[in-house]
């Protein structure tokens, strides 16, 4: 079972992102369970949503306390909420930012991590560019498909088409695809860098 925890703020589509991730996994024939952190959600307040993906029926109903991957939709949460709580060693981390892990002050925390698994993408900017609104959730799913390899970009696009239509769907598909390409390119670069160091 693969467990994803998504952190963001009310109004950023955190719950929608978890739901769409579950739809993408379902479209690939797998079992998935998405659920919110059950708070009274208010715009701007920290929000958490969860998604489990597995090859068989998911019975577990506890919150995800030891995630395999984190998607952080708002980097200002890094100093407000313990977003890394329980994250498995070498778990995937995708942050919505144009800064590096070092610049975010996370250099020490991820020193021994597999570098390929640590990615950032400026998803809010991509959303502004393609959808005209600051909604980082869907581009981040594209980026997540790239960094984790857990779901395919095509499945994310299918989920987008199930959730949205017309211009909004087209914009989100463009945003998710560009995020996917950016993260893929960065991973290639990181891999190249590591092999040159070795």
């Amino acid at each position: 079972m693969f467990q994803v925890r998504i952190h963001g703020r009310g109004g950023q589509g955190v719950v929608t992102a978890a739901e769409m991730l579950s739809i993408a996994a379902f479209d690939e024939g797998r079992y998935a369970q998405a659920f919110p952190s059950f708070g009274s959600e208010r715009t701007g307040a920290p929000v958490v949503a969860f998604c489990r993906i597995a090859g068989k029926e998911i019975r577990l109903r506890e919150p995800i306390m030891e995630p395999d991957a984190l998607i952080i939709q708002d980097p200002t949460l890094l100093h407000q909420v313990d977003v890394f709580s329980g994250l498995k060693k070498d778990g995937f981390i995708l942050i919505n930012t144009n800064k590096s892990f070092e610049e975010l002050g996370l250099g020490d925390f991820v020193r021994d991590w597999q570098h390929e698994r640590l990615r950032t993408v400026a998803a809010t900017e991509l959303s502004r560019k393609h959808v005209g609104r600051p909604m980082p959730n869907v581009p981040l799913l594209g980026g997540f498909a790239a960094v984790s390899g857990i779901i395919r970009l095509e499945s994310v696009i299918m989920a987008i088409n199930e959730r949205f239509s017309g211009k909004v769907a087209a914009g989100n598909i463009a945003g998710a695809t560009e995020a996917y390409d950016i993260v893929r390119a960065e991973m290639e670069a990181a891999r190249h860098e590591e092999s040159t160091h070795a």
């Binding site: 978890a18 739901e19 579950s22 739809i23 379902f26 479209d27 079992y31 998935a32 369970q33 998405a34 659920f35 919110p36 952190s37 059950f38 708070g39 009274s40 307040a45 920290p46 929000v47 958490v48 029926e57 998911i58 019975r59 577990l60 109903r61 506890e62 919150p63 306390m65 909420v81």
Partner: protein
């Protein structure tokens, strides 16, 4: 058809497939998405011959349901928590009058302190109201139980409450197999009321009954629930034939055959318990599970049969009978009277407190070693409790307890994650 949808929407679609004629509801979390979903289907014409009535309160919702059901319409509503409490007088009337209304209760805690999260306090406060109460373990079961509920209600002329864990199920996206209209039509015939307000054949419903017949009328309510004990397993079989899926029946066991310890629960926590049981089985522990689907009527014989070969049982319940302990546990203990079993009551998950595998492992292991207290409150912070009790001992005007306890935790409002 397999779908990945929210539990609330799965229930909304299933209710629509049952061809309801009147839906009356008042919004309250975590039930709201269900009636919103049905409302949309009525508005866009997907659900035909159905009137959606916006009412001004839950009391009005159940009162309208009583009226429309008595007029011969298949009637549905949904509520939760304080909403259920607000409609209680009408809830008792619906069952007393024998009206086959189906209602979803998206289980949520009851205040004070106000809390929107999940536990079973709302539905279990109504355990004696005369409604049949069924508890769903998954969203698949929630939608299936609604289809069964209409048939059961109309067969017995008794209202049925389908209880599903608020947020944990209502707001969870998971895979469900949505039946076709043909399948539902094959299982659920059009509503043929046992009693109806019909201008062509006028009757009055709701007589005043004095001491001369009140006991007899009340006994009939009990007799009907006893009939339900026979009917529910039969209907579950019939459901399986039409839909090819097994639904709850009265109770269900898991890994129970050689179990020395039996964990007993209702609702979605059964999934987490089963995962724990699988892990403990791998380590050689003889532990099994009894899930109770039908809380009213309470299947005394089935529970006794399921526990016949075990040595001890642990009832894990999301409810608290203040001043005595468990509600489900008290019912289970009645079923096993004289069987010489060790029984433990565990109050867990109140107001949305997470019930984790880690805690359940430790809990069941403790029960196996006979080290568990007869009544346990799972994962409570004793420091916070004791500090408040201290405060109250030391100072007459100790102030409001909930606020003080939140302050001790360093919080100004409820926890977000």
């Amino acid at each position: 058809m397999l779908k990945q949808i929210e539990g609330s929407h799965a229930v909304a679609e299933a209710v629509a497939l049952c061809r309801p004629e009147v839906i009356c509801a008042y919004p309250i979390s975590p039930q709201t998405h269900i009636v919103e979903g049905i409302g949309e289907m009525v508005k866009d014409g997907q659900l035909k011959n159905c009137e959606f009535i916006n009412v001004e309160s839950e009391f009005a919702a159940m009162s309208v349901a009583i009226g429309s059901s008595a007029a011969g319409a298949r009637t549905y509503t949904a509520t939760a928590s304080q909403g259920l409490l607000y409609m209680v007088e009408a809830v008792y009337n619906a069952s007393g009058l024998g009206l086959p209304i189906v209602m979803t209760v998206a289980n949520r805690a009851i205040g004070a302190p106000i809390n929107i999260w999940n536990d079973h306090s709302d539905a279990l406060s109504q355990r004696d109201c005369g409604w049949i109460q069924l508890f769903a373990e998954t969203n698949q079961e929630a939608l299936d139980l609604h289809i069964e509920a209409f048939k059961l209600a109309e067969e017995l002329s008794l209202p049925v409450m389908v209880c599903m864990d608020g947020f944990i199920l209502t707001h969870a996206y998971e895979r469900v197999d949505m039946p076709t209209q043909e399948q539902v039509d094959a299982f659920l015939p059009p509503y043929e009321p046992r009693q109806v307000l019909d201008p062509a054949e006028p009757v009055s419903i709701g007589a005043m009954v004095g001491p001369e017949a009140f006991m007899e009328v009340r006994y009939l309510a009990h007799a009907k629930q006893m009939q339900a004990l026979e009917l529910i397993p039969r209907m579950a079989k019939e459901f399986e034939t039409v839909f090819g899926r097994v639904i709850g029946g009265l109770t269900r066991t898991y890994m129970a055959d050689d179990a020395e310890t039996m964990a007993i629960a209702m609702g979605s926590v059964l999934g987490t318990i089963k995962d724990v049981v699988d892990e403990m089985r791998e380590q050689g522990h003889k532990i099994g599970v009894l899930g109770i689907t039908s809380f009213r009527p309470f299947p005394l014989a089935d529970v006794a049969a399921a526990l016949r070969n075990c040595k001890r049982f642990v009832v894990l319940e999301k409810s608290l009978a203040v001043g005595i302990g468990g509600i489900v546990a008290t019912n289970v203990r009645m079923a096993v009277t004289g069987m010489g079993l060790k029984g433990y009551t565990v109050i867990a998950g109140l107001g949305g407190r997470a019930i984790t595998k880690k805690s359940l492992h430790a809990l069941f292991a403790k029960a196996e070693r006979s080290e568990l207290e007869p009544l346990t409150f799972l994962d409570v912070d004793w420091r916070v409790i004791n500090r408040q009790l201290d405060r109250e001992r030391q100072k007459r005007r100790s102030g409001p307890a909930a606020e003080a306890m939140l302050r001790d935790l360093g919080m100004v409002a409820a926890k977000i994650s």
